[in-house]
Amino acid sequence: MKMNQTINKSTKFRVLSDDQIEQIFYAALEVLERTGGMIYHEEALELFRDSHAVVKGNHVRVPPYMIEEALNFYPRKITLRGRNNVRSLHIQKDTVTFGTGSDLPFTHDRKTGERRRTTYQDVTNAAKLVDALSHYDFFMSHGIVGDAPNPQTYDRHQFMAMLEGCTKPMVLTSVDGEGLEDLWKMGCLVQGGEEEFRLNPLFVAYIEPISPLKNDKTAVEKLLFAAKKKLPAMYTPCPSSGATAPATIAGMLVQSLAETLMAVVLCHLKSPGTPLIMGGVTTLLDMKYSTYSYGAPELSLASAANTDISKWLNLLMFSTGGCTDSKILDEQAAAEQMMNLFYSYLSGANLIHDVGYMDHGTNASLESLVMNEEMMGMVKAFGKGINTDDDHLALELIEKIGPAGEYVTSGHTFDHWKEWFMPKLQDRSDYETWKQNGSKTMLDRVKERTQHLLDTYEPEPLDEKLKKELKEIASAADARHS
């Protein structure tokens, strides 16, 4: 019997110590008590006025005990079920899932190589790929349905495009509270009613504050709707260090935590137990080109630190990875996407989104989605860590094969090599073979695989009757807004 053993079932990675997290947490409490935040929503202000918060006009300041109390009520597990009836997305501490980002205005056109506006068809294609590729656990729209009949109701049409191609759970952006309500109604139809949806939510609602410390009307109405229906939601600050947040990572983390905690209190006042997820695209404003960077190493560092904080708070975490500032799928894209995928994965964030994002969150690329599939596989292979049980220590085997033997033909190898990562796109061939196969680059292979998947993969079709009912909700919204 061995005593006091610690076995690492996975690799371990942490940026902040507990003491550092406490510093950041206390600082965020101080921000909410002293600096406060702005809230532009009447019902929310009413809720705060009826509490111990101090409200002057739109300015709300919150004493720490309200925050500590509210923090006790957040769920530590949320399970989503896709339209394929599989409860596949277990959002719980240290369980990592990957997904795309949403709403990219432009698309890299695979035929012309040019940038053009994203369409409904592009979103359906992205949906298909995400459905086909096994490392994607959830789907955000990747692009925006730029050809929707009315910008004011695009979210309903986007959801349709997503559902047509993808059976996996989703994260949805919406225009406003009314839009979110329609999406929720559509979700209930898919899951078989409001009660089924409550037990098996199909999607998480994506909501954001405006850094620094501002909460606009549409964001708050979505938040309150989510609280009312117990719809899983995330309130994810998007601060840019140096522009809408301090230029220090610690300062940015303090501010964005304060923004999160404001929502934590608000949802608690509305309805305790709201399945609220913490979030954050914590990055910097590039000071040469004034762009919001999706490829900076600081994004990886700040995001991993934010995940450390989320675990300490017992909140679930929506993080960022697999994204780049590069305009095309090139060496820069690979380097940046790999870096932020890797560290978000190691940090153990629960939902890692924006996988495939190009050009600092403005350009969509189906090929980027496909290349990331390979990289997610590599990252996961690393995260598995090293098994050190007797079979894996292989002492008996080493003795059996002995000095100067070979392992290729042993049963142990036959059993275990399949634990390795199997590349689909990485080329490990010898030079001559590579040449015979056409001297292809990574990008050539990515392009071929993308085309192949689009040509051959058929997602489980959406039931025709259901489709009609869903479309009715979208059409009714169009009529209301025409």
Binding site: P105, P151, Q152, Y154, I210, T244, L285, Y289, S290
Partner: protein
Amino acid sequence: MDLSNISETLIAGKADELRKMVEEGVKENINPADILNQGLLPGMDAVGKKWKAGDMFMPEVLRSAKAMSISMDFLRPLLKDDDVGNAGTMIIGTVAGDLHDIGKDLAAMMFEGAGYNVINIGIDQSNENFVDAVKEHKCNLLGMSALLTTTMPRMGEVINSLKEAGIRDQVTVIIGGAPVTEEFAREIGADLYAPNAGSAVDITREYLQNKN
């Protein structure tokens, strides 16, 4: 007073010192237009050049722009409307339904740095608010920002409203924001499009020079 000292202080982004120097210059009876054209504007030109060369970065550039703006607040009332270099008034805002503000704010600061009297009317501004602001402040430059595909069309609507109000010719219209393109600007009849705040001032200046 050696006006090149004003340029140097501006490049260094020392706002208080710069303002004092400008005030002193006026006290010494230096023509305000000269302070602008031989002190401040050459300073900002140098800042722009250094930035493009990668010798200066956003926080430094915007400190200089802020210093410029503070000095201009003092100098502007002393300038004559037709003084060379007197840039005029700009209205800038983000269109209705759109809450993205930082890009528009950066553009605003750059125009302040170029000597404009910039009135930043904020985010989520209705079409009427834009038109009213143009009328009220008799501005000669209008900047609009939209970061959402869904709110971009508002910019075209504002331009149409300006036409209806008969004041379209009063202003040069420049637009920007991540989903906005040159082509879109042409479609809706904006005069100018700038892909970033840095180029916006140059693009505007060049356009106005060619126009006159």
